[in-house]
Every structure is written in C-alpha cells, then in structure tokens.
C-alpha cells in the first residue's frame, strides 16, 4: 500500500451504499457526454426494439406514454467516481417492452443506441426482472436534454455510461458487441460493486 503523505480523505457517511472507489456527490449531477447535445424532435422520434426478437416493434412518444408507468428510486454510480443517492426517475420498466417483442432464446446481449450514434452494450441478464427502465422523468419533471432527455435508458445497477442518453434503439444480439466507451477501453459489463471500470478489471 502506497500511503500518500498528509492525505486524510473525506470518507462518505453512508456505509454499504457507496461502491468501492466512489464518493457521494450530493445534490450535483455532472454532465459528461462526449458529443453535441442533440435536439430531439418528439414528433419524429420513436424507440425501436429489434434484432433477435420474435416481434420487432417501435413505440412513438405517445405510444410510450400509454404504457404502464414505473419508477426507480435509488442511487446511480458514474465511472468517474461520483455516486448520486436517492434519485427518482419515471418511465416504463424495460420488462414491459421485452414482453412485447419477446427476445429469442439465443439473445444474450443488447446494444442500446442513441440518436447521436452513441452505443453501449449490456448483457440481457442485466436488463430484465425490474433492473432497467426507459425513462423521461426526473423528480417528476421532464428529463432535460443534457441529462439525456427526452428519453434515456436507465440501468442503475451498472455504471451510468450504460444508461444511454437520447435513446432510439435497442438491438438484441447473440454475441456481445462493444459500444462507444467499451471500444475505447471501458468495461463490457461495468458493475460498480465489482469496480469493473476498464477492460480487464
């Protein structure tokens, strides 16, 4: 262990809620996207779900609004080491969309794609059984553009780059297909509790 001369550290207050190497950022919510924030026009936007599924389907904004609502209350964790406690997102559980398209037995991975072309890959097992959402509300208000609005993916038990902003498509695959950050050195799964930040972690 290399002890840093004179370093005390802050030590966050909530044991058990902070994954290794993370700190509590409080009320702040940094914006770290790598591209120009797009201006998504909802009248032209839809969410497509395709690939290895029995019934590929797309949902317009209005169709999405008509689905049963679901809420996530809890923490989010960014790979840059901040965590944000007690967030509240509103939208629809991904289970609802999966029930509609019916993934094929061989489907094992999903690539989420943004309108900007940003992609991220996620094991299918991390998206089912109440672990993932498609969201458009934060604290009851419309999700702002720099936080991924109008509609983003939410997979809060993985590092937050997996929760693709400006979501437009989910594609089911048999083999893993590394996305934007994953090609650039970040981990294919990204579990904060296992500190899977970079490829090889």
């Amino acid at each position: 262990m290399v002890v840093t001369r004179g370093f005390q550290g802050r030590r966050g207050g909530r044991p058990g809620r902070l994954p290794p190497g993370q700190y509590d950022i409080g009320d702040d919510w940094p914006v770290l996207s790598a591209e120009v924030t797009p201006n998504v026009r909802l009248d032209r936007w839809s969410l497509g779900v395709d690939g290895l599924v029995a019934r590929p389907q797309s949902w317009t904004w209005d169709q999405l609004q008509a689905l049963p609502r679901s809420e996530y209350r809890g923490d989010i964790h960014c790979v840059t080491t901040w965590s944000k406690f007690d967030t509240r997102f509103g939208g629809v559980s991904l289970d609802v969309l999966l029930d509609a398209v019916e993934p094929a037995p061989e489907a094992a991975f999903v690539v989420a794609r943004s309108v900007t072309g940003y992609t991220t890959n996620i094991p299918l097992g991390d998206l089912v059984d109440g672990q993932a959402w498609v969201v458009w509300l934060y604290d009851g208000l419309p999700l702002t553009g720099h936080h991924g609005g109008p509609v983003r993916l939410l997979v809060p038990h993985l590092y937050f780059w997996k929760s693709a902003k400006w979501l437009e498509r989910l594609t089911f695959l048999a083999e893993d297909a590394p996305g934007f950050w994953e090609v650039n050195g970040y981990h294919d799964r990204g579990d904060p509790w296992l500190e899977q930040r970079y490829q090889g972690d």
Binding site: M1, V2, V3, T4, R5, G6, F7, Q8, G9, R10, R11, G21, Y23, I25, D28, P30, V31, L32, S33, A34, E35, V36, T37, P38, C78, T80, T81, W82, V115, T116, G117, Y118, T119, H146, F180, W181, V183, N184, G185, Y198, Q199, G200
Partner: protein, 240 residues
C-alpha cells in the same frame, strides 16, 4: 443525425495502478497547480488523454479522480494541471499539500475518444482548465513542427486566471478573455462566433473541453457556424 460510431477511435491503453513520484510542483494560476510526475513504467499517451490519480490515507482509505494530461507525448515527465475545487477531496490535497518527492498512484492513460492523432487539421476550444488536454495537443504539434495542424482557442476571464495563457498566446492560437483585453487587442468579451469563424476553414476535427456549461455553449457555437456534430468531440468536466 450524427454518427459517432463512424468516427475513427483508438483502443485506450491501460494497466494497473503504479506508484509514481511528483518531481515538480508549481502554480499555473492562483487556483491551479501544475504537477510534473515521473512514471517509471510509462505507456505512451495520445494528446487529449487523461490519467487517474489515487490517494491513500494511512488507514487504507482511498480516493481517485481523473485529470487530463498537459504534456506532450515526448516529454520525459507527465504533466497535470489540477484546479482546486472547494470541498474537492483529491484536488485540495494535490493543490494544497503535495510537494516534490511525494508519491501517489496513477493509472492510465485512459480514454480513446478525446484524442488527437497529430495529423488531422484540428480546432481545439477550451474553457478554463479545459485547455489542459488541448495544451498537450499544441505542445505535440510544436514539438513536431506542425503547428499549422492545430489552432487552440483558450477562453478564460483574465491572463492570470487562465492556465497556460502565455503559452497559448504564442503562434496561431487565440485567447478569448471575458474580463480583459487580450494581448492581440481583442476586446474583453465572452467566446463568440467571431473568435471561431476565422479558424474553421480546412479543420476536420473539433475538440471542445471545459465545464458542462462551457462545452454546451462552445459546441453549439460550432454547430451554428455549420460544423457537423459528428466532427465535434467533447470532454465535459464534472465537479471533482
């Protein structure tokens, strides 16, 4: 819409943590420190990349944050420029406490997106400490004698508060100061389209770095001037 995936990216080299020695400590501005670090087992970085710095307390508690590299790949040392954030667990230590000879741990370089290949004609726009990864690009170009390939626009309040202002002011790069007349006679004003317009022709890739607010404003300026979003690579600084 834009196609991020169609842009060329590179694999980010990475590795485990290694112990490194801080060799030189100096002030860049009243609120920032320049640390020059000796890295024994060095993986060459590309201009624009960053490293992760980890500090360890006597009881084993650790904290880590990412910092952009300011030095050119050819520099014998890795140079970081760290802004002191009030309440910043790591930055307050790096700015207030670290002395030459101190050891910290370092990992990287990381990031394969916000990198300049040293060839493609580039316009790089940085706000405040957002100039740091762009200074690495500028130094690399100067070391290779290809400074015409990159133009750096550094935005800040004054010469005294913008890191590397003196270095940026040389050559074809531009200082956009909001509270001071620049050395070239530019009146005090926030970064605007007139600062960028003369430098767009022939540029194929655009780098924007700074706070989320600055990055949003600067990238929208570029889009408004007709730059395709797919050519714009952004590094937004979080609060740390």
């Amino acid at each position: 819409m834009t196609e991020l995936s169609s842009l060329r990216t590179v694999d980010a080299p990475h590795g485990g943590w290694q112990r490194v020695v801080v060799r030189e400590v100096s002030r860049a501005t009243p609120g920032t420190v320049v640390l020059r670090v000796e890295v024994e087992h060095r993986v060459a970085h590309m201009p624009g990349q960053r490293v992760v710095v980890r500090l360890t307390a006597a009881d084993g508690y650790q904290a880590s944050r990412s910092y952009s590299i300011a030095s050119a790949p050819g520099d014998d040392l890795i140079e970081l420029c760290v802004e002191r954030v009030d309440d910043g667990e790591v930055s307050t230590h790096l700015v207030d406490v670290v002395q030459p000879g101190d050891e910290v741990e370092l990992r990287g370089p990381v990031g394969g997106w916000f990198v300049w290949d040293g060839r493609t004609p580039a316009l790089a726009i940085g706000g405040g400490t957002g100039v740091v990864p762009l200074v690495s690009m500028l130094r690399h170009a100067r070391a290779l004698g290809i400074e015409d390939r990159i133009c750096l626009v550094g935005a800040g309040r004054t010469l005294e508060t913008l890191p590397y202002a003196g270095e940026i002011a040389q050559g074809c790069s531009v200082l956009a100061l909001s509270q001071q007349v620049s050395p070239t006679g530019r009146p005090a004003a926030r970064l605007g389209r007139d600062d960028l317009l003369p430098h767009l022709v022939g540029r194929e890739v655009f780098f924007v770095c700074g706070s989320a607010r600055f990055a949003e404003a600067a990238s929208q300026l570029l889009v408004d001037l007709g730059v395709a979003p797919a050519r714009i690579r952004i590094e937004r600084f979080g609060t740390t």
